[in-house]
């Protein structure tokens, strides 16, 4: 005997939900944001904590992937050195459209306390950034809030229209 019965009396008697293409595509995109594992420094620890059981990113459909080709969002968690700058560009280019970037923490936002010759003063000098998270390091709650804001941003787009590719220049 089935435990869960379909209530055929609601929604005009059909087990059907009507919506628009925009909404269903954006629903899919925003609720399966696969993130590229990109812990560069101590912010990476907070990012890992966000993925682990206490904060549990899986609830958002955010699952960390080890390959940029399977990822939708790049969470730049940590200090980007100038030596590494070319690789972040290469990884970003390998991600498929549509793609988003979260810059996590002071170092990724502005270079942070590393006001030196060897640190990129903000990842937005290399790749376009959708969301900046303040903090040193941001708490996992901040990252969760950031992902929720990113979901909101994705839902605001028209998925049926061809999206303009994001370019830094």
């Amino acid at each position: 005997m089935a435990q869960h019965k379909v209530n055929y009396t609601q929604d005009g008697g059909l087990p059907v939900a009507l919506t628009s293409i925009d909404k269903i595509v954006n629903w899919g995109r925003s609720n399966s944001l696969w993130a590229l594992t990109y812990g560069l420094a101590c912010c990476g620890i907070e990012m890992m904590a966000s993925g682990a059981s206490r904060f549990d990113f899986d609830r958002y459909g955010t699952i960390f992937r080890a390959s940029p080709r399977q990822a939708d969002v790049m969470i730049v968690a940590g200090t980007l050195t100038k030596k590494h700058a070319e690789f972040i560009k290469r990884l970003y280019d390998q991600m498929t459209e549509p793609r988003w970037v979260i810059s996590m923490g002071s170092c990724a936002n502005t270079g942070g306390m590393f006001n030196t010759y060897a640190t990129v003063q903000g990842v937005d000098r290399i790749i376009p950034v959708d969301l900046y998270l303040p903090g040193c390091a941001p708490r996992p709650e901040t990252l969760q809030y950031g992902v929720m804001l990113l979901q909101k941003k994705i839902r605001a787009n028209h998925a049926s229209k061809a999206q303009k590719a994001k370019r830094l220049m």
Binding site: E86, Y117, R125, I126, K152
Partner: protein, 268 residues
């Protein structure tokens, strides 16, 4: 460290003393005051020329000739039981007399003693590699090459170790600016996008503490978020940010603050 001055009557008198206080040198003792060091120094002196030797903070410092370094370290490792090279690098004295001071910190676990071998080289002069004696010198000499530009003759892989291979400049030189020269400032832009992208991307913003609450293009004030480009005034209404849109999200239950529980106890 700067000399300590009592601060209780600091406003009564001129606070200015010596801005660039030079701390007194740690006193040097004669090598003869320690029997183990005296014997070691005698063994080195028997084969090599020693310019100066003294004991400072229980460690012997020996100045030798630059060309003798391989022989001295070999003698110390094989005969004097100084089996470990714990650290080596250079000190920049270019401003003073156009020289580098190279030091090799040696440790003997048997004797429980440390000896620092030092010598001076001129700018542009190469040192002899001791990588064949101590494997750890491999990376130390590469770091010295990276940071000071001092090459080591006989090193198997004389390349930069920390900075990228195509880097220009030696960051640990006293003349190198902390925030980098022009090459460093544009390194990632030049490499990834090319020199013509400099104008589009713009110079580095080095004042990371700068926050302009009236600049809605670059900054968002928590609780007062407005669209980009909005003119910000002092008497703005606080805006409540919600996680979800007013109409709710397709297939997702609308978040309701009143029906949710806030857990305050962190030890739940």
């Amino acid at each position: 460290m700067r000399a300590y001055t009592p601060k209780d009557d600091v406003q009564a008198k001129s606070y200015y003393t010596d801005r660039y206080y030079v701390s007194p040198q740690v006193p040097k003792q004669d090598v003869e005051s320690d029997a183990v060091f005296a014997a070691d120094l005698a063994a080195i002196k028997a084969k090599f020329e020693v310019k100066e030797a003294f004991i400072q903070v229980k460690q012997m410092v020996v100045y030798i000739q630059a060309s003798d370094i391989y022989g001295v370290l070999e003698l110390m490792r094989d005969e004097l039981e100084y089996t470990q090279l714990t650290e080596m690098s250079a000190i920049d004295w270019l401003a003073k007399d156009n020289t580098f001071e190279i030091f090799y910190q040696m440790l003997s676990m048997n004797k429980r003693k440390r000896i620092r071998i030092k010598y001076f080289i001129n700018k542009g002069q190469a040192v002899d590699s001791v990588e064949k004696l101590f494997r750890c010198a491999d990376w130390s000499e590469r770091e010295m090459f990276d940071m000071f530009g001092i090459e080591a003759n006989g090193h198997p892989f004389m390349k930069r170790i920390l900075m990228p291979y195509d880097w220009q400049g030696n960051p640990l030189l006293k003349t190198y600016p902390l925030e980098g020269d022009e090459f460093a400032a544009w390194y990632e832009v030049d490499k990834i996008y090319g020199k013509e992208a400099r104008e589009a991307i713009g110079p580095e913003i080095r004042d990371t503490a700068r926050v302009d609450r009236y600049d809605s293009g670059r900054f968002a004030r928590l609780g007062y978020e407005v669209p980009k480009g909005t003119e910000i005034t002092d008497d703005m209404e606080k805006t409540e940010q919600s996680y979800q849109e007013d109409g709710g999200v397709f297939l997702i239950k609308k978040f309701d603050k009143s029906s949710s529980v806030i857990v305050d106890d962190p030890q739940r």
